[in-house]
């Protein structure tokens, strides 16, 4: 053993387990997509797992979450069951949004998980509003808002950061910078590629974080969340990460090289965390096999649940366009 572990064994294994859950769940999702079990758009989070997993160690049940259309990982890490997420992707009525949203629109009020928003940057003002409601109603919760670096080009990003800073709203802005907005590289779409500077221009404290290192993510988010909880207004973290898979299943990836993807893969959150745990003496082959088996069983169970799910009757199509009036 070359170094003392900086992390408790049970917690370390929990982090690895959570990242593996997302990775294997999504690998299965990609397979199911090719079988046309899952349709529409499917945006995989593979490569970025450390961010959602790190964040969820810090967030409390009363906190709000707002995410994007690349949100399976956040949903699973937040505690929405793999069954409910998979059934949602199948479009079955047992899905967490009753099958109406699909991959891009996962909601769970019970988990205070407010999307699943597929308008880039559209979730940022919602997050500011959730935080405003907490502030006005005297609740101690904070709101975590996940978005990609592509959102930074949208007006909604700037409007939401300004409002949150101006009104000192308890929002944690978590920018998952995977370098590409679909196929457009950051340096081809932003005149200033240091995104923290944009947050700083609104007087929002900001920091760069290695989004491939789950421990670094957790530590940085814990520190920022503590400041937000203390009533110091919003914080911004730019989490540097990389999407290993295509943007969606329709993407031929003409905009980046195989070498670049391979280089990032070597830095992958699971790819690097496993060896570190072994180095610290916290993981061996047997324990890893146990984790993989548990994950594999959970994913298989989710698929079986989704397969057995039911279609919402077409006669219910118009239900919940508006709240049904009490009879």
């Amino acid at each position: 053993m070359s170094a003392a572990p900086p992390v408790d064994r049970a917690h370390a294994l929990h982090l690895l387990h959570e990242m593996l859950r997302i990775r294997r769940f999504e690998e299965k999702s990609a397979e199911l997509y090719t079988e046309a079990k899952i349709r529409g758009f499917l945006h995989l989070y593979i490569g970025e797992e450390a961010i959602a997993v790190g964040a969820m160690q810090v967030l409390k049940p009363e906190d709000n979450l707002v995410a994007t259309y690349r949100e399976h990982g956040h949903a699973l890490a937040r505690g929405i069951s793999a069954r409910a997420v998979m059934a949602e992707m199948y479009g079955k009525s047992e899905g967490c949004s009753r099958g109406r949203g699909g991959s891009m629109h996962i909601f769970s009020r019970a988990h205070r998980f407010f999307g699943g928003n597929a308008i880039v940057a559209g979730g940022l003002p919602l997050a500011a509003g959730l935080a405003l409601a907490d502030k006005l109603l005297g609740r101690a919760a904070i709101t975590a808002c996940f978005f990609g670096e592509g959102a930074v080009a949208e007006g909604a990003f700037h409007e939401a950061l300004n409002l949150a800073a101006l009104w000192r709203l308890p929002v944690l802005f978590l920018c998952e910078n995977n370098l590409y907005a679909m196929g457009t590289a950051l340096e081809r779409s932003e005149s200033e590629t240091d995104l923290c500077k944009k947050a700083c221009s609104y007087r929002v404290p900001a920091a760069h974080v290695d989004g491939m290192d789950v421990l670094a993510v957790e530590a940085a988010i814990r520190e920022a969340a503590t400041a937000v909880r203390a009533g110091n207004g919003p914080h911004f973290l730019e989490l540097h990460t990389y999407r290993f898979r295509a943007h969606s299943m329709f993407d031929a990836q003409l905009y980046r090289s195989r070498e670049e993807v391979e280089a990032w893969r070597k830095r992958g959150p699971i790819e690097t965390f496993g060896p570190r745990l072994r180095e610290w003496g916290l993981l061996d082959d047997a324990r890893l096999a146990e984790l993989e088996a548990a994950v594999s069983a959970e994913v298989a169970d989710a698929v079986a649940f989704a397969e057995a799910g039911t279609w919402e009757p077409a006669s219910d199509l118009l239900r919940d366009v508006h709240t049904e009036k009490a009879p």
Binding site: H158, E159, V321
Partner: protein, 327 residues
């Protein structure tokens, strides 16, 4: 019951103050609503009574603060968001159409958005082509939101509370030409239902259907028609979505003639929708083609004479009614 004579502006202000007093979750935000007192003076004095936490001036960021209102509504507050003009609301269209209107259905019924948006609309004050339009139908097109257009003192006073009690998003259009309208407010005035259109004048010979700022013109036209021996029934739609078909159809089945008066443009407008509904349901009871009196298909110009030439006028309504009678 006799009450006091007040303006439409004062009626809206009274409704706002009443809502703020009744429910501590209610707050108002928008551009210049607090210190300035509202661009049309509607919110004057509210900041002094309710403070700046509940009467909030926003930056000029319509998408941002409407989105924040949506988030706050989801979070349990009861926001009233003022947008200065329907033309500016185009900057918030994304949030209203993609989030407020969709969240309930898309989340399988989990997420309600009890948001009220108020905005000024309409022409007549020589504010030219970026402050004067009537785009109510853009919103009335969208499932998931309700659209109100108070045209009377009682509705200006009474619709807001009903809208706030609605669990879904409601947009209230206040025609800026009505703010100085005076009328008697009954001493016991309060919340009004928003499910039905109102017959503002009973008649036998022709049905004139309108809403919002055109109501005074239509009532004047009915008066002129009466002087010529034609008994016109005047229907004020009040709610533009969902439309109260029953009241319109009942009137047209009685008069067999319909003139639709809409300050919006004619092409793909509200009058077109009403006309189609009459054709679908009342065709064989019509004794003349349905007539439309709409704004000319032009951006509203600045000079008084051109602005008035663009808008529906009393004589246009009278002429259209006469044409349905073969005159």
């Amino acid at each position: 019951m006799s009450g006091e004579v007040i303006t439409y502006r004062e009626a809206v202000r009274a409704a706002l103050a009443d809502a703020l007093r009744r429910d501590p979750r209610v707050f108002l935000m928008g551009e210049d609503v607090a210190r300035y007192g509202g661009t049309y003076g509607v919110t004057k004095g509210l900041r002094e009574e309710f403070g700046e936490e509940r009467i909030r001036d926003t930056p000029l960021a319509e998408g941002g603060f409407v989105g924040t209102g949506i988030g706050a509504a989801i979070g349990g507050a009861r926001p009233i968001v003022e947008i200065m003009s329907v033309n500016f609301s185009m900057l918030a269209l994304d949030q209203i159409v993609n989030s407020a209107a969709t969240l309930r259905h898309m989340s399988g019924g989990q997420i309600s958005v009890p948001l009220v948006v108020r905005m000024g609309s309409g022409a007549g004050a020589q504010l030219a082509a970026q402050h004067s339009h009537s785009l109510e139908v853009w919103y009335a097109h969208v499932p998931g939101i309700k659209v109100l257009a108070p045209a009377t003192i009682a509705d200006a006073r009474g619709m807001l509370w009903t809208a706030l009690e609605d669990p879904d998003p409601v947009i209230i259009f206040e025609h800026v030409g009505l703010y100085n309208l005076k009328g008697e407010l009954p001493a016991d005035a309060g919340a009004v239902e928003i499910d039905r259109a109102a017959v503002r004048r009973a008649g036998q010979d022709v049905t004139l259907v309108t809403y919002g700022g055109s109501l005074p013109k239509v009532l004047a036209a009915a008066e002129a028609l009466a002087a010529a021996g034609i008994s016109a029934e005047v229907i004020d739609l009040r709610t533009l979505r969902p439309l109260d078909d029953a009241t319109i159809f009942a009137s047209v089945r009685k008069t067999h003639r319909a003139v639709l008066v809409d300050e919006g443009w004619r092409t793909c407008g509200l009058a077109a929708e009403l006309s189609a509904r009459l054709m679908e349901t009342c065709l064989y009871e019509l004794e003349a083609p349905v007539a439309r009196v709409c704004t000319k298909e032009v951006p509203i110009p600045y000079p008084h004479h051109l602005e008035q030439a663009a808008l529906p006028q009393v004589e246009d309504i009278v002429a259209a009614a006469r044409r349905t009678r073969g005159e």
